[in-house]
Symmetry: D2
Subunit: 366 residues, 4 copies
């Protein structure tokens, strides 16, 4: 096996079907289509049940890759809907290229794996937990990561329940974890996150059961980031960590925000990656150039409070709670880094503590 190098490109999109920035990379010879292993996208839908911007982007990416001779089904595509507040729509393209030699220190390593198709009745339950854990272990192996401590971010894209899928299960005499299609997104994200925690030893299997999913918030992963979407019926898993033997200049670090306004946690993550803020508490332009990507989770605290003050996210029937949370956390992180191209994903069930969530940064070493 030749030496490998993980490459990561942050690219803008003009609308959910606009893949021109990626094609420009291909046409310029800066990236080979067959090197792409995963594409993350922040698309400008509502991030909830009827957010078709995710499927639109996935279809546009798939048609484009197929036109260039790539089997799109082998590329993990995770579109996170919702660009509330200042969040800017963008793609994060992950590729694995050959490297002449390994770097002197551990470098960004990526592994991708998929679960089998998940029937509606498995979502939000132990079936999804165990299938996800197996996929995480497979992806770690692919990335050459043996110590869970070297895993800094695990992206999972998981299915949700729609009226049609609930009816299909009922037709087979199967029950589902919830008949509320919006609530099903949280159950699927939560079960997937616990699958990551199980694979990384953050929780023990005997702590887990169907009843704990979406209920016992003391159980969580510090590196999981899960997004639910109507466009897929299996879990897609992308493991990011630092591993020896990889080439390139990229390194990843992470921290956990204890609540939605935990700026110090964001600063610690940046510091762990070698980026200390300038006066005013914000990165300088030169530092921003080294910051390739920021990935974070956001959710409203279930207590209805942030440091004792009431928030209205959970009781708002006009704007879904996850939309408020993305806007808020996006503002907190933008304050620190001075940029709005942030992959802030909503719904952090079992991903970090209640009301908080993981934040990971990928930087270019100097």
């Amino acid at each position: 096996m030749p030496f490998r190098e993980t490459r990561l490109f942050r690219l803008p999109m003009r609308h959910p079907g606009d893949v021109s920035a990626i094609e420009a990379l291909f046409d310029a010879g800066r990236l080979r289509p067959d090197q792409v292993v995963a594409i993350l996208g922040k698309t400008e839908g509502n991030g909830c049940v009827n957010d078709f911007t995710r499927a639109y982007a996935v279809d546009a990416l798939s048609w484009m890759l197929e036109r260039r001779g790539v089997d799109a089904t082998a590329v993990a595509m995770v579109m996170s809907g919702g660009c509330e507040g200042g969040l800017s729509p963008h793609f994060l393209v992950l590729a694995v290229a050959e490297a002449e030699a390994p770097a002197p220190a551990p470098r960004l390593a990526v592994g991708v794996a998929f679960t089998p198709e998940l029937p509606p009745e498995a979502l939000g339950r132990m079936g999804q937990v165990r299938a996800t854990a197996a996929a995480v272990r497979a992806a770690m192996g692919q990335a050459g990561i043996t110590d869970p401590a070297d895993v800094h971010y695990v992206q999972v894209k998981c299915p949700l329940l729609t009226s049609a899928r609930i009816a299909e299960a009922a037709a087979r005499g199967e029950s589902v974890c919830t008949r509320d299609t919006y609530a099903s997104m949280g159950m699927s994200r939560g079960a997937s996150a616990l699958g990551v925690a199980l694979a990384l030893g953050e929780v023990a299997e005997d702590q887990l059961c169907d009843a704990a999913i979406g209920q016992d918030w003391s159980l969580y992963s510090r590196v999981a980031s899960c997004s639910a979407g109507v466009e897929l019926t299996r879990n897609e898993v992308i493991v990011l960590g630092n591993a020896p033997g990889w080439g390139g200049e990229l390194r990843i670090a992470h921290e956990v925000m204890s609540d939605a306004i935990d700026l110090p946690a964001v600063q610690r993550a940046l510091a762990a990656a070698g980026l200390a803020p300038r006066s005013g508490g914000q990165l300088g332009e030169d530092q921003r150039e080294r910051l390739v990507a920021v990935l974070a989770k956001a959710e409203p605290s279930s207590t209805g409070l942030i440091r004792g003050a009431r928030h209205t996210m959970n009781d708002d029937s006009d704007i879904n709670a996850t939309r408020h949370a993305r806007a808020l956390v996006g503002g907190v992180i933008a304050a620190a880094v001075g940029r709005t191209e942030l992959f802030v994903s909503g719904g952090a069930e079992h991903q970090g503590p209640d009301g908080g969530g993981p934040v990971a940064v990928v930087v270019r070493e100097v």
Copy 2:
């Protein structure tokens, strides 16, 4: 005239009609109802045309004050709708009490004034500009502020156009500045802000005309904060500044955010008030206790960009642009101060530069 002291109380509300925290102050003898000169409120509506949480709060406050023998019409009430992201609903009660002696240094001074009733055809036009300027000068006089440089925050509550008001004007053969009721809020805020700028000499009268309102963003006030609401038909003006001869412990400072993620400007405003952030870039608990109130304006940049990256606020037909902007700026400021009880008001037309806005802080001197 006896010595005066401005008092400011930040109080939570459980819902827009909940004035119990204010009544508790009265019942505990900590504040006399007749000392109240103004009440600002951040209420959990949409902050747009059909936001009835503002009128609900004003009615609840008025009924409560009348029950306690106060003429509520003499109290300026400015409810700013919209608690997007993490913003926490709260009241800011401004009162003027007698002081035994003036403080050794200038202290927070407040002045309140009202324009005459503004007919629909005056909104968003020079009529509203000039009436607002006159009210600002009257309020400065009341506060004993002679130098415009000592004015750090001018809150204006202004009317908007509804279908009914447009029809009423048309019935009198009068035209209005716009038939779009939502757009009318921005025109009314903009004309009011230019009225503040005119009174403070930030712009010269010959620079102003109907056509410049809502068009020439190079004209703006650095201290104006204007909110439009369906519940009033005149402008209410509250001037806050530092003036000699006042007692008490409160002082106000301000800065201007050049864009929505200008954390350094927020840090400068805090520093000007004597609050330097701890490690991690956020105020410590002891510093937060000295920070009585934070007041800021938020708006989406008309360019559709934040530091070159596209935002989706202006093209979102599900969530109004001002709602996105409040959530974003609320996140940026909460990152700096570690609190979500922030009076972040949307729609900063002619209030600070395009996409930015004023931020003011009131602190208790030690």
Copy 3:
């Protein structure tokens, strides 16, 4: 006991706090405040959790009635939020006045009753069902209605579960039907509706059990209309029917819409009240003048289909499903009657069949 006459006034509101049309009735001497027994209102909020237009209207009505010496707590007030589509905000004021003599035929009769306080553990369960049934029988007695077939509309306002109430029950070792406070609204409505059905013999007691509530949609009332509110801890019941011995000119009739577009059911209800549509299928102006009020329930079908065609209500995360349903049913009924002042209320658990609901009309006899 003197002869009685039920009076019903349909009055517009300019905003949720506008009770001027009711006060005008009082001031004109057309209605005595002490004669008011109930006020229904269609207010322009979202009809969901954070709809404060309902509380605003109730507070405004209460303050106004108290000013006029009426004990507002003795007046049943049921505000239904949501004026989607063309629905026009309005009040329906029910009053009982003395009549000189009974009418030659049965006339609109009203009875109001309350259940005892309902402990949290009773909500959404048989305890609430039985208590509601008893209150319905009491209200029928007050209205002088003996035959359930003469009951055409039963409005119930019922409590919901809050975190505090759930904790209070737990402290006594009692469980509740759900720990999801939003879900508890539907459970409370459903149990209340089944209580109406039990009292009227629409379902037999041996068909009912805790497990059937919110599950077995084949069990429903054809005349119940229930709404849940946080401001009360008992059920308020308003029974409307036709009874002998009452004076006045009003009569009520009802039908059940089998789905959301069941125009023939609406036409049958109108015909039962003596109103046959003119050519074009819509009432004529003279007929509309006789039609005092229309009251109906609306909900999206849980199948996701209307006559085999997919609807998007249940999967829409931007607009709550009940909002779509009110707009749709409002359009169907407006097509028949040619008016948009319709009391169309959402959330029809056990109130009519899945996707359908009761529709009642009150007409003035000629």
Copy 4:
């Protein structure tokens, strides 16, 4: 030239990217891809500026047609976003096949034409009006319709202004008709409708000018239906009428709804097509089978009233006015026909009178 026959298929979609029902027609040999001349679609987005379901459907249709060897750019595709209330997402596929002989009476005839690319500065102004009129005349010629009275429906799909397009025009020193992207949809629809009216002689050219567009509602077309979308930059025009010399069984008729609840107008349109409602005012199942398609426009009245009662559409900042209007008119028409697969398009500026709009029906002759 051989005899022609217009064919029209109404097909469901499971989501905006689902074109499987159309492909099934092709695969079954019931329709040849090269016969398709236009595809109308009702997609489940918000129907406003950031409704990407329209572009998603157009891309999915285009990719599918290209795969089958058809030049998709030659097929007019008009996606109307918004399935509020009960409206069911569906496609209307228009095709022209060869006929053995002309029918004994005039039959449905279709003509398609396109304007040149329209720069941002032309939208909502006379440039767009004249270009549209020319395209309508070209489409009539293609359909073999000489008398404007034989034109019953003209579908226009037109561009809108986005922040990006406004900036592009500004960069060239060009102004646009409005900087409000949402308002631009109405201006573009209005100018397009006046272009139809000009071509059909419904208004005279000397009545038209930039200032009249979006202002003088007395000027309108009785057959125009215009939808604006972000996915195109020219006007697409589809003319539908009855013409001699065409084969097949289809015929079209239309009427104009004078307001949003004008059921009699819908009944007249059905009657003109030979469909008289059964008792209950709704079509019977056998009649529904003959009713191939219903196409209508909806908009809120600018007066804020429907027959004197206040509606809340224009003042709702949570749900755009056109969304309310589609739900309402969809309910009125569904009441008459007993089906929710209705092509109800929002925004009827200059398409029918203020608050009303055209309604057309295509039926299969027996």
